[in-house]
């Protein structure tokens, strides 16, 4: 961000949130006391430290003052709360370091990996760490994406299954020759000092997901909105968090997503020269997911709600990250990023000139959506629905542009077989016990896999989904062995293992995790075996 913009955006953000709540006594009261209530609850749950003690004292003071204060003083206190949140979100952003870091982006991945385990990496990887960059392929609507960056402000929204995602995305955007993106990164990404440092200076702002106060979320959202309006490209994960189940995101968080429309309307009202905001859906596709074991375990424990924030997963263990990277090299495994067709803020696709198209490909004058009797207006209820439309289009794009991997397809075949063998067992029991048979005869697995592959290829040629090259071009034996090499290689326990002429399901949770990527894809039912 340009230095002259930083202060302005921050002030604008704080002022906007302030104006929303300061003028109505009731809203003012709940803004202050709801925030203190949520913050105190958060502090109770955290380990005591000097920092938490200081925070508690601060909230005690504001509480005591606000309880007895006149509206004027309350407004000052609200300003203080908002100011604290805003400063924390934006952090100690230094434009000079930012300029430097922008040039340093190509080193981003190396920095990440080296900072996790510099000595090990240098010694273990013959070609040096830069090879990870070769492992990333970028496909899809790259030209259209570039054009939208020239024509307006873009918001990249990506699928999310690993903490490596933001680093990879940052790198991919750089490789495409695009300017750096502003994005909100979870605190855990900042916990490593060096990554945190670079994150900050690459445009990341800090998101503390432990903070549940709506005032805080309002500050976050507003900050993102202000940066979009100021013309800064944004990036975020609309699923809100890493997919726990392994499935492609189907429900998106609408709050942040809606800031694109908000900025578009404000740009139109202010007659800004480049008012347009474009949404660019992106998928990131892995054969193996670094944190798969933790994620699926969390998903199964009360279907994903148990721990919204995971701090002790594989990402926080340098050894695991290293294993993971090594595995990628040795299996020649690729990570692919697919850029979807850019959308307008209402979910319509746009052509290369940035014009919105309806589903029949006819040009749409998108300004009309926000006009009422000729004037550009806000309408909270309407805009929320528009954002729902956008979310549906993004989900649809995620579906179509997810590149299915051999690990996922083979897991699906194995898991379907398990379920069919044990119709009387519910999912959780099946995962625990494994059912009647611990292994699948290989010929059966091949037959099923080959049917699944041909169905998937049909769907691929109809443009409904994407397949990685092995599934697209190679025979069933190659697909199977590619999958098994991956599934048996990296994780603590192999998910699926071949012994003799049978396939043994060793870690059913992982099989479930990988097969979940195919959720919602109708594969032909097998006749009961």
């Amino acid at each position: 961000m340009r230095p002259e913009d930083k202060e302005r955006v921050l002030a604008e953000c704080a002022q906007r949130v302030f104006d929303r709540y300061a003028h109505d006594p009731q809203r003012l009261e709940s803004a202050i006391f709801d925030t203190i209530y949520e913050e105190r609850r958060r502090l109770e749950g955290e380990r005591r430290s000097q920092r938490t003690a200081a925070e508690s004292a601060l909230y005690d003071r504001i509480y005591a003052e606000a309880a007895a204060a006149a509206p004027e003083r309350r407004r000052e206190l609200l300003r203080e709360l908002i100011g604290r949140f805003a400063d924390e979100v934006v952090g100690h952003f230094d434009p000079r370091v930012y300029a430097l870091a922008t040039r340093a982006v190509p080193l981003g991945l190396n920095v990440l990996l080296n900072s996790l385990s510099p000595l090990r990496l240098a010694g273990l990887l013959p070609g040096g760490v830069s090879r990870l960059e070769d492992q990333l392929t970028i496909a899809g609507e790259i030209d259209a994406f570039r054009r939208m960056v020239e024509r307006g402000t873009t918001i990249v929204v990506s699928t999310h299954c690993s903490n490596l995602d933001s680093v990879l995305l940052g790198y991919a955007l750089h490789r495409l020759g695009l300017p750096p993106y502003v994005y909100g990164a979870g605190l855990n990404l900042f916990s490593n000092r060096l990554i945190g440092f670079f994150m900050h200076h690459l445009g990341a702002y800090k998101v503390d997901r432990r903070k549940k106060a709506w005032l805080y979320k309002e500050v976050l959202k507003t900050y993102a909105g202000c940066t979009i309006e100021a013309g800064y490209h944004n990036m975020f994960f609309p699923g809100g968090t890493r997919s726990r189940s392994g499935a492609v995101e189907s429900r998106l968080k609408l709050g942040l997503l809606g800031m694109g429309l908000d900025a578009y309307i404000r740009n139109l009202q202010a007659n800004r020269p480049r008012p347009d905001v474009f949404i660019v859906p992106v998928t990131l596709n892995y054969q193996l997911v670094l944190e798969a074991e933790t994620l699926i375990e969390d998903h199964l424990k009360e279907a994903g709600k148990s721990r919204y924030i995971i701090e002790d997963d594989e990402f926080s263990k340098p050894r695991r990250v290293l294993d993971f990277v090594q595995r990628l090299f040795s299996l020649n495994s690729r990570i692919s990023m697919v850029v979807g067709r850019p959308l307008d803020v209402f979910g319509n696709t746009v052509d290369d000139e940035g014009r919105s198209l309806d589903r029949r490909g006819r040009t749409v004058d998108r300004r009309r959506y926000v006009q009422r009797d000729g004037a550009v207006t806000f309408d909270a209820q309407r805009d929320e629905e528009y954002t729902r439309e956008l979310a549906a289009s993004v989900v649809e794009s995620f579906r179509r542009n997810t590149v299915l991997q051999s690990t996922q397809v083979v897991s699906r075949v194995a898991f379907e077989w398990l379920r069919e063998q044990n119709p009387e067992q519910d999912l959780y029991r099946l995962l625990r016990t494994g059912g009647k048979h611990s292994s699948i005869p290989l010929p059966q697995a091949y037959a099923r896999l080959s049917r699944a592959i041909s169905a998937l290829r049909t769907m691929e040629s109809a443009g409904r989904l994407r397949l990685e090259d092995t599934i697209k071009d190679r025979d069933v034996v190659a697909v199977m062995s590619d999958a098994l090499a991956h599934l048996a290689g990296y994780h603590r326990r192999p998910a699926l293992l071949r012994r003799g002429d049978r396939l043994f399901h060793e870690d059913r949770n992982l099989i479930l995790y990988y097969q979940n990527r195919l959720e919602g894809i109708p594969l032909p039912r097998e006749a009961a075996a």
Binding site: F346, N348, S356, D358, R359, R360, R362, V364, D365, R366, R367, R368, Y369, Q371, R372, D373, G374, D379, Q381, R382, E385, Y386, R388, E389
Partner: protein
């Protein structure tokens, strides 16, 4: 251009319901215009003030003006009300899509599902136009009674509050009382589904069954409707409202309804192709039964009345046989399928 919006409402479709809605709007001192597909019909309405095909013998208001040029008409109103039979719906929607703009509100009042694709009408509007502010109007609105100047009520469901309030403003103070709602799926499915029950009620009349049997049929039909709707994400309460039980009561009580007539003639032993060949207007219940039947199969839903009507329409079941099948069904707890979802 916005300045060209010289109308309040454009009604699309010159069938009896479209004509009736346009009449009520004019009566309510709104600037309303009727678009019809055939030029001859427009001429008949404008010069002789009659719609002899769909409302024979009814004298239309002299200020009811019809046009057949869609391009010119579509831009003139902020609110479009589409009342076109399901068979022609996609085609008209696509043509409309060439002219409509994103600030216009698009409401349809067509009850039924698209053949083969089983799409709801609002889904078709979404596919064929750039409109986002889409709504559905549905309820017990027999066109004959509306034309006779009688009061009625309907539900206007949309995800967009602006849609509801615009439609309510157009009909405010008129004889058509418009209630607002958000459950688009439920409203559309109820409107489509009730035609099946109306057909079944016709069969019951044809068999000479009385009010007890008819009440049984309507109530159990409502329960099937609700189960079908809920399986598609509808709000169960919608079926207790105007678009659900309300519409069922009117449709099943009226021996004049087309679906009712088809049922009655089936009960008398006539064959479906012959019945359809002798009718000038569409009986939506016939294609809807096929659509709902196959959809329910996919979802694994048990809908005995739909099953029986399907048998009569497409599988050569006699009316007696269908009735016998229904009476042989096991009786369980009345609302179990809804209550223990």
């Amino acid at each position: 251009m916005t300045s060209a919006r010289d109308l309040d409402v454009l009604v699309l479709g010159g069938g009896n319901f479209g004509t009736a809605l346009c009449t009520i709007l004019l009566e309510n001192r709104k600037k309303a215009l009727l678009w019809v597909r055939r030029r001859e019909l427009a001429e008949e309405i404008n010069t002789r003030h009659q719609n002899s095909r769909y409302l024979p013998g009814v004298a239309l208001r002299p200020d009811l003006v019809a046009v057949s040029d869609l391009a010119a008409a579509a831009a003139r109103a902020p609110l479009l009300l589409m009342v076109v039979p399901t068979k022609a719906f996609r085609e008209v929607a696509r043509a409309l899509g060439d002219h409509i703009q994103g600030d216009q509100i698009l409401i349809h009042a067509t009850k039924g599902l698209e053949k083969d694709s089983h799409r709801r009408m609002s889904e078709i509007l979404r596919e064929e136009t750039c409109a986002l502010k889409i709504g559905v109007l549905s309820g017990p609105n027999l066109a004959g009674e509306l034309m006779a100047g009688q009061p009625a009520g309907a539900l206007l469901a949309s995800h967009y509050r602006e849609c509801v309030s615009a439609a309510q403003a157009a009909f405010a103070g008129s004889r058509l009382r418009l209630y607002g709602g958000r459950d688009v799926v439920g409203t559309e499915l109820a409107g489509a589904f009730k035609n099946i029950i109306a057909l079944a009620a016709g069969v019951a009349s044809g068999l000479g069954l009385g009010d007890n049997a008819r009440a049984l049929l309507i109530t159990r039909g409502l329960s099937e409707m609700a189960r079908f709707g809920v399986a598609h994400g509808a709000d169960v309460f919608t079926f207790g409202g105007l678009a659900g039980i309300g519409d069922l009561m009117a449709t099943c009580a009226s021996p004049l309804s087309r679906n009712h007539q088809v049922g009655e003639r089936l009960a008398r032993g006539e064959k479906l192709p012959a019945i359809l060949a002798s009718m000038t207007q569409v009986a939506e219940g016939v294609p809807t039964t096929a659509a709902v039947f196959s959809r329910a199969r996919q979802l694994g839903l048990e809908l005995p009345i739909v099953r029986a009507v399907h048998g009569m329409l497409y599988e050569e079941w006699s009316a007696q046989q269908a009735l016998a099948e229904l009476l042989r069904l096991p009786v369980g707890e009345e609302l179990a399928a809804l209550r223990y979802r």
